[in-house]
């Protein structure tokens, strides 16, 4: 038989949500960043491994990718951090109307990015089936596109959610805040990939 409980403290006065590392959501987001970061790091490792087999990079007869689409993408990506920071702040301050507006804006930016991404695939000057160089460049770009696509889908759902009665619940602001944190990871992860796809073939 269990001994009688010895009451040693009460938790009723604790808050029911918190931002940042006090919430479980933050830990989930961080863990998924670690997993995806590993995918990127290993793909980058494979890129250098295959590059090490070649005398020149890109291997002839291929030209380095055209710069325009990729650079435009990078620029929009960097600018997207402005509304991203604003929506994170608005969420942490609990300003629902601002969160709703800014989420719609971030969804629109995501759409623009996906359209530019389409042109990027068209400017690589190599196909995945041409040789291993083509395969790894496509792999990098595809991996990052998956990233953009899933985060875009996620943001759409969140934007819709925040426009319903569920958006009034305090915990939803934590979701918005962590979604912004994840977006930061998406664009920071892009910068080395941009360098590998567009600039390393020009410098090597």
């Amino acid at each position: 038989m269990m001994p009688a409980p010895r009451f040693s403290g009460d938790l009723a006065h604790l808050p029911t949500h918190a931002f940042g590392h006090r919430s479980l959501t933050w830990w989930g987001v961080i863990a998924f960043m670690m997993i995806e970061g590993c995918f990127f790091a290993l793909t980058v490792a494979a890129y250098f491994y295959l590059m090490g087999q070649e005398q020149s990079w890109p291997p002839p007869p291929f030209r380095a990718p055209d710069l325009l689409a990729g650079s435009l993408f990078t620029l929009v990506m960097l600018l997207s951090e402005i509304p991203n920071t604003l929506v994170k702040r608005a969420a942490e301050a609990g300003r629902l109307r601002e969160v709703r507006k800014l989420l719609v804006l971030t969804v629109a930016i995501g759409l623009v990015l996906l359209v530019i991404r389409g042109f990027e695939f068209n400017s690589l000057n190599v196909f995945w089936y041409d040789n291993a160089y083509g395969s790894i460049v496509w792999a990098l770009l595809l991996l990052h596109t998956t990233h953009i696509l899933t985060d875009w889908g996620d943001t759409i759902i969140l934007a819709v959610l925040m426009h319903t009665k569920h958006g009034i619940v305090d915990r939803r602001f934590v979701d918005v805040s962590e979604n912004s944190l994840y977006w930061r990871f998406v664009w920071i992860a892009w910068l080395p990939i941009y360098f590998l796809i567009y600039w390393l073939p020009r410098l090597a």
């Binding site: 269990m2 001994p3 009688a4 409980p5 010895r6 009451f7 040693s8 403290g9 009460d10 938790l11 009723a12 006065h13 604790l14 808050p15 029911t16 949500h17 918190a18 590392h21 006090r22 919430s23 479980l24 830990w27 989930g28 863990a31 998924f32 670690m34 997993i35 590993c38 995918f39 290993l42 793909t43 494979a46 491994y49 295959l50 087999q53 070649e54 291997p59 995945w128 089936y129 041409d130 040789n131 291993a132 160089y133 083509g134 395969s135 790894i136 496509w138 792999a139 889908g153 759902i157 959610l161 009665k165 569920h166 619940v169 915990r171 939803r172």
Partner: protein
């Protein structure tokens, strides 16, 4: 919802005992019936399903092992055709590694970790349910394919170019590669759940320095899974795309490199060995402490050894590739690194021996498994140090010596502790003890059969017998040794049968166990056996590493969580100070439906890349339904005075 007094929305001195139990059952229970059964998010139910499924796969893969031993019992045997044999050894290795060894460790952790840290459910409990379904579907796909003669046949590590489109036409390797995707998604999901639970849901007062050693082991292992599993998932995705859409990652004719496969595979594959082994060391630490009636000697040394092993594991992978030709520095570095990992492992073994030495050991069945583990694992560890030496490795590479080595490490090092752990926690999960005498019989049969099977393989290997051959000519000096191994495997199998029958019989009519049948120190023994769906009526709080030994007059508890809705406590990462009360997800069918949608997508992508595009829609819809808040019916937080 209920006719309970609405003013009493939280547990406390006024709300305890039977009334509290009745309310918590309503809040934490799930609907009855099939849909309710499929919707569960209770870690105990999912843990048990994981465990039963993993053991079912172990039985299947074990039967394949027996088939191989029957074939190899005598030279030039015609029992199994070469093609079938290739499928059998590939299925045996693949099933044991991906569908048994890793999932079974996660299964035990899913069941016991929330109880050990004193919380009501795992973090992200729906993700945990999703993990199980993905694992189940991946395993079913592999075995259904095998039944249809589309079982993979390129070995459990599927080396290119053998596994590439040129030398492995058909769909066999694709099935293997996609099974990897399923199990890696499942493994990564379970690892995220585990890390979050261990870091954020420990009982108040359970600082990192007071965490049970099995919890430490699972924390390290889960982090290792997060860093290692992406490598094999990426690798198999590249292999699939080489085979399906004509990329050239591993095709040397188009500037790819077959060895890239091996690097990425073993960057996962070597940590994988420790992902299997470290949970087993956690079992050993828990059982040694309980049955020696004292805390494990050198707790900080054991924890640091776990961390060191986890880190070193990522610096060893190239020792699987000594035979591929490496720079001299590479040989020297990876030999040194491989020998270094013996140090933290040795430290742990000395700590357990010291614990037995200093304690008052009770030689119950779990402790017998611990002793069997120490003896067998040391043998496997020593042959590991031998294989770390390049000249020896080049001599013994791909021989039965290697087969002997890794079976000593994996069966001696992981399965023995696992069988001990099942015996140890069986009363917690079922409320009944396993029979002690039949437990001893199964231990003797498994231990004896194991050594009889695998010890001779050291010799067959040194006599030059390569692994993965479906038969061998007479007169090579291998005949008797192979016959002994085959006889041993029959005894080993008999031991497993006795173990499983014992478990089955004890489940139905074993001796009833109280809350703490072993007089063990951990929190999991502070609740009833089996635990109620909510685990703990009041949340326990702890002030030492061995709370049940130090608080004989009753464990201190914390009150104040809601009883009208699922709520769990989050505490700070290092000191476990109470931080916030968060809702815990309710059961829902959507993780299962998401797993079905994603599963169909994965299976379809074996045949056409368009499956990924088409599958995006149903998978996205299912995931959206999963994440959409369903808590509209939860009454708002009652006001606190």
């Amino acid at each position: 919802m209920t006719d309970f007094d609405p003013d009493l929305a939280r547990d406390g001195p006024d709300l305890t005992g039977k009334e509290l139990h009745d309310r918590l059952i309503v809040a934490w229970g799930r609907p009855r019936g099939l849909v309710g059964w499929l919707s569960t998010t209770d870690h105990k139910e999912i843990g048990k399903r994981y465990l039963v499924t993993a053991f079912a796969f172990m039985i299947l893969a074990g039967v394949l092992a027996l088939a191989m031993r029957a074939q190899l019992a005598r030279p030039e045997s015609g029992l199994i055709t070469p093609d079938r044999y290739n499928q059998i050894f590939t299925m045996h290795g693949t099933t044991m590694m991906f569908l048994f060894a890793v999932p079974v460790m996660e299964a035990v952790a899913i069941y016991v970790i929330p109880l050990m840290v004193g919380t009501r459910n795992l973090a992200f409990s729906r993700l945990n349910a999703f993990s199980y379904w993905m694992y189940l579907f991946g395993g079913l796909m592999l075995w259904i394919a095998f039944a249809l003669n589309v079982g993979p046949d390129a070995g459990w590590f599927s080396y290119t170019p053998l596994s590439g489109p040129q030398y492995s036409p058909g769909k066999r390797v694709d099935i293997w590669a996609q099974m990897i995707t399923f199990t890696e998604v499942a493994g990564l999901a379970a690892a995220v759940v585990m890390v979050a639970t261990i870091l954020k849901q420990r009982a108040p007062g359970m600082t990192l320095a007071r965490m049970p050693l099995f919890v430490w082991a699972m924390l390290i292992v889960s982090l290792m899974i997060i860093f290692a599993l992406p490598a094999v998932a990426l690798d198999s995705a590249m292999l699939l795309s080489d085979r399906l859409v004509g990329t050239h990652f591993f095709n040397p004719y188009e500037r790819g490199d077959a060895l890239l496969w091996q690097h990425l595979f073993w960057f996962f594959g070597h940590p994988e060995v420790y992902i299997i082994f470290l949970p087993a060391t956690g079992f050993v630490s828990e059982m040694t402490a309980t049955f020696c009636r004292r805390p494990v000697f050198g707790y900080p040394a054991v924890v640091l050894s776990l961390i060191a092993t986890g880190l070193l594991a990522f610096g060893l992978w190239v020792h699987h590739m000594f035979a591929t030709g490496l720079p001299r520095l590479g040989y020297a570095f990876y030999t040194a690194a491989s020998m270094t990992v013996a140090i933290p492992t040795g430290i742990q073994i000395f700590c357990w021996i010291a614990t037995i030495w200093l304690g008052r050991p009770r030689y119950r069945v779990p402790l017998l498994w611990v002793i069997g583990f120490v003896v067998s694992f040391v043998v496997g560890g020593l042959t590991g140090v031998m294989l770390a030496s390049v000249p020896l490795d080049l001599e013994l590479h791909d021989t039965y010596f290697v087969v002997a080595h890794f079976h000593y490490v994996l069966i001696g090092g992981a399965v023995f502790p696992l069988l001990g752990a099942v015996t140890y926690w069986f009363p917690k999960a079922t409320g009944r003890l396993m029979s002690e005498s039949w437990g001893k019989v199964s231990f003797a049969l498994v231990f004896g059969g194991f050594h009889l099977t695998f010890f001779p393989m050291h010799l067959t290997g040194m006599l030059g017998m390569p692994r993965r051959v479906y038969t061998y000519p007479a007169g090579m000096g291998w005949d008797t040794l192979n016959l002994i191994s085959s006889l041993g495997s029959a005894i080993l199998a008999l031991g497993f049968v006795v173990f499983l029958l014992n478990a089955f019989r004890s489940f139905r009519s074993g001796e009833p166990a109280g809350a703490d049948p072993w007089d063990a120190p951990g929190l999991e023994w502070a609740t009833s056996s089996p635990p109620a769906v909510y685990n703990f009526a009041h949340l326990p709080s702890v002030a030492s590493r061995t709370p049940l030994w130090d608080e004989r007059e009753g464990l201190p508890v914390m009150t104040g969580l809601r009883v009208d809705a699922r709520e769990h406590l989050l505490t700070s990462v290092i000191e476990a100070v109470p931080s916030i009360r968060e809702p815990s997800p309710k059961p829902t069918i959507w993780p299962l439906l998401s797993a079905i949608a994603i599963g169909i997508t994965f299976v379809g992508s074996v045949f056409t890349p368009w499956a990924l595009a088409i599958g995006l829609l149903p998978a996205g819809a299912a995931l959206t339904a999963w994440f959409w808040p369903k808590n509209a019916d939860i009454p708002p937080e009652p006001e606190i005075d």
